[in-house]
């Protein structure tokens, strides 16, 4: 049946004399296999060698601090709403006097948990956050967990450590509407 003028017959089931003999195709197949013996190996030795991850890779979550080391999150709950897997939960608290150096806003997340069994690493929380507080880091993946209690990540694992700041620096990737850059101006 012809519906357009772009069709192209591709299948030819008639075999020529040479093709009818099994040997040539076996030899050809073997030749290709042997050729590959001497080619560069594409495999990498995983735990020792890690492959490059793209600058926008969606990996381990991190709750950012600002340049003075205060937590950015204000427990607005937008990330929890945006999460299609319903993995995020939090408890908000009010900032007390004297805690200004800990929390950036007057309201902060006293508890912030991500259930890593539910999370599908879609990156929607990162886009939703109006404070640029939650990020999926591009340089680290969530490790394998062996204990059930380890699965729900609390603030201890999520909040960025002061001696291990995360910066998504890649001059190639321009700041885009949904993915803010983490340059100086943004922090």
């Amino acid at each position: 049946m012809q519906l357009t003028n772009r069709s192209k017959q591709v299948s030819n089931k008639e075999m020529t004399m040479a093709e009818k003999m099994y040997l040539p195709s076996i030899v050809q197949g073997l030749a290709i296999t042997i050729k590959h013996f001497f080619m560069k190996k594409p495999t990498i030795q995983y735990p020792e060698v890690k492959r490059y991850l793209g600058p926008v890779f969606r990996g381990h979550h991190v709750l950012k601090r600002d340049e003075q080391g205060r937590e950015r999150c204000t427990a607005c709950g937008l990330c929890a709403v945006a999460c299609p897997a319903e993995a995020i939960s939090m408890v908000a608290a009010e900032r007390k006097k004297g805690e200004e150096n800990l929390y950036r806003e007057e309201k902060y997340a006293a508890v912030y948990e991500i259930n890593m069994l539910r999370c599908i690493f879609c990156g929607l929380c990162e886009e939703a956050c109006p404070k640029q507080a939650v990020y999926l880091r591009h340089d680290r993946m969530v490790p394998v967990f062996l204990e059930r209690d380890d699965i729900v990540y609390g603030k201890d694992k999520l909040v960025e450590r002061l001696d291990d700041r995360y910066v998504r620096m890649n001059s190639e990737v321009k700041a885009t509407p949904t993915e803010p850059s983490l340059t100086k101006a943004a922090t």
């Binding site: 195709s25 926008v56 990737v173």
Partner: protein, 413 residues
């Protein structure tokens, strides 16, 4: 006594034989469970086959082993979160599903997507088609006993996944693109990787074709195996490569162009009789055509924005959110899912990895679809499977199934 056993004979569709043998004949039928966790089924679905020795007498399929109720979940998810569900249908070509869904919603909301975004989408969809077809054809090779081709092709699939990673940040469950455009522009690295890919892939594909196309052993296993006529295929509702293999040049990209497909030049490969070999050849040729499309798209990539000017549907820039009240309001409204969707019904179809992937969306103006139906091509192919394998041997049935490219995630949604 005898009449009872004759009854069984008629029930199991065994053709009536002359009077002295039917009793032994009936007892010789074996029930064989092919699946749900059979190494040759590439997914979780079951076939209950009645075997007469090596021949298949009748078959019955069971589905639903990984039914995840996507259509129901979608009824209480805002539009932008449903992308993550479409990822998990045909997981060999998730970008096509993502884009199809975005286009459906854009149709409902009446958003015009700029040319650059359309071209980027075309590039990603064609890459996904290549990834899908190379898995299907590679696995067909494995099922006929040739592991080599599969192994060499898979290296290129890895490279396609690296391009995905550069564009959207994930490899398998991509969640790529947004309603109204793409989430970010193609980075220079991504463009470089795509260009490298179209340089390198022809060599790999040619080698794969050398291994298979005219290989006598492969042809013996696939020619005239699992054939279906164009009429039967059409009445089942076949689309995509499986229909084209039967000789009907139906392609959604040509018949009903979306995302600027009318601007690209490519052929529609068709086969002769719809058997496994035809399907294999059609898929191979489609990879060449996809390469052609990608080449045209990347060389003529238009300048301009990569997202539509629709602030009430597309997340505003973060800098704006800080400074601009309006942007902040839109940001909250979009994330909360409180966008103003019109009441209406839309159907949008894209040429998916293995056929017409349709989205039928009914909106009652709420934050989530009132009803969403996915037209999943695998679901349709699988219905025809018993008809296609009756009378063949078990090993042929496996080859037939793998060339139909039935993917469990899409079959069950």
């Amino acid at each position: 006594m005898v009449s009872d056993e004759l009854d069984i004979a008629t029930k199991t569709n065994v053709p009536a034989r002359n009077d002295e043998t039917p009793v032994q004949y009936v007892n010789e039928l074996t029930t064989l469970n092919l699946g749900p966790t059979h190494p040759a089924t590439h997914g979780i679905f079951q076939n209950i086959l009645q075997m007469d020795g090596e021949k298949i007498v009748s078959g019955e399929q069971t589905i639903g082993y990984i039914h995840r109720a996507f259509e129901k979940i979608a009824e209480r998810r805002p539009f932008y979160q449903i992308t993550t569900l479409t990822d998990r249908m045909n997981y060999c070509s998730s970008p096509i599903n993502n884009m199809g869904w975005h286009m459906t919603v854009e149709k409902l909301l009446g958003i015009e997507v700029p040319k650059r975004a359309q071209y980027i989408r075309v590039i990603m969809m064609e890459l996904a088609r290549i990834a899908d077809h190379l898995i299907c054809n590679g696995i067909l090779g494995v099922d006929t006993g040739a592991f080599t081709g599969f192994l060499y092709l898979f290296e290129e699939r890895e490279n396609i996944y690296e391009i995905y990673e550069e564009v959207c940040g994930a490899r398998l469950t991509t969640n790529m693109g947004r309603i109204g455009g793409m989430e970010r522009d193609l980075s220079p690295t991504a463009i470089r990787k795509i260009k490298e890919f179209i340089q390198r892939y022809p060599k790999v594909l040619r080698e794969f074709e050398n291994l298979f196309n005219r290989n006598r052993i492969f042809m013996d296993r696939t020619v005239n195996v699992g054939g279906i006529s164009a009429e039967r295929a059409l009445s089942y509702g076949f689309t995509g490569p499986n229909l084209r293999a039967a000789g009907v040049d139906y392609d959604v990209r040509v018949m009903n162009p979306y995302s600027s497909y009318e601007e690209f030049e490519f052929d529609i490969p068709v086969g002769q009789s719809g058997d496994t070999y035809d399907r294999f050849m059609v898929r191979n040729e489609e990879m060449w055509q996809s390469l052609r499309i990608i080449e045209q798209a990347i060389n003529n990539l238009p300048e301009g924005p990569y997202y539509a000017d629709a602030p009430q549907y597309y997340l505003p820039p973060k800098q704006e959110v800080y400074k601009n009240m309006e942007a902040l309001i839109y940001h909250f409204k979009i994330v909360m899912g409180e966008i103003d969707a019109p009441v209406g019904e839309v159907y949008h179809a894209v040429e998916g990895g293995n056929g017409e992937l349709g989205f039928y969306l009914i909106s009652d103006g709420g934050r989530a679809p009132y009803r969403l139906h996915f037209r999943r091509p695998c679901f349709i192919y699988y219905q025809a499977f018993p008809e296609m394998c009756v009378g063949s041997t078990l090993s042929d049935a496996i080859v037939t199934m793998s060339s139909l490219n039935v993917i469990a995630g899409e079959l069950d949604a």
